[in-house]
């Protein structure tokens, strides 16, 4: 399942919901991305995530299907927030459920690497006296390329 929303999420609630729907789960991997309180050594006031409504959902669905086809997963979830977020707030949640640990761990890693470079989001960091759009990192591209999408 994928959700693109402004609201916060609860890891425990989402895990509970997924466990109710799925039988014989042996492994749960999760990843949470959080707004840090520094942006390039400066105190961050907020981070605003802009996205492309419609395309975001389409691309997240596509990559979730890719994960489901590559690994033996019982279930998966991607929640990505948008809007203005403050330091310490959750940005993104990925959860994968499988029988065996390898499938859950690798697919979770794959999904988060992919989101970094292919999720149609752009981040504006507001600091005390200025603001700037976050540039994509080459290192993120290298991470993502190892999955051979």
């Amino acid at each position: 399942m994928i959700k693109v929303q402004t609201a916060n999420f609860s890891l425990e609630e989402e895990v509970k919901t997924m466990l109710k729907k799925n039988d014989n789960v042996g492994a749960i991997s999760s990843f949470i991305g959080i707004v840090r309180n520094k942006a390039k050594e400066k105190d961050l006031i907020s981070m605003t995530l802009e996205h492309y409504p419609g395309m975001t959902e389409k691309m997240l669905k596509k990559i979730e299907n890719e994960a489901l086809s590559r690994w033996r997963l019982l279930d998966s979830l991607i929640i990505h927030r948008h809007g203005e977020l403050f330091p310490g707030e959750n940005i993104v949640l990925v959860i994968t459920l499988s029988k065996h640990r390898k499938d859950a761990i690798n697919s979770c890693h794959f999904l988060i690497d992919w989101l970094k470079t292919k999720g149609p989001f752009w981040k504006f960091e507001k600091t005390k006296n200025s603001g700037h759009w976050v540039e994509a990192l080459d290192s993120d591209n290298l991470e993502e390329q190892k999955w051979n999408i």
């Binding site: 991305g33 995530l49 802009e50 996205h51 492309y52 419609g54 395309m55 389409k58 691309m59 990505h80 940005i91 993104v92 988060i112 989101l115 970094k116 470079t117 292919k118 999720g119 149609p120 989001f121 752009w122 981040k123 504006f124 759009w133 976050v134 540039e135 994509a136 990192l137 993120d140």
Partner: protein
Amino acid sequence: MRILYFSWIKDGIGKSQEDIDLTGNIKNIADLINFLSEINNDYNKVFSDLSSIRFSKNMNLVNIEENIKNEDEIAFFPPMTGG
């Protein structure tokens, strides 16, 4: 044609979307960029370095040679950075 702009491209042009009527000589994304670049100096500046701009047609990433029609939704944005 509906055109969408995101991130610093939106800021540079000063709008997040606009509708234009495609004229016959705009066949692909490259043609569209040339057309937009001539509107004014803001557009010209935004499109001066294409290496940092990505394009989509109807919500699919495409390259600069992609053919376009008046019914398409085109978007311009920097490299994505979610997560």
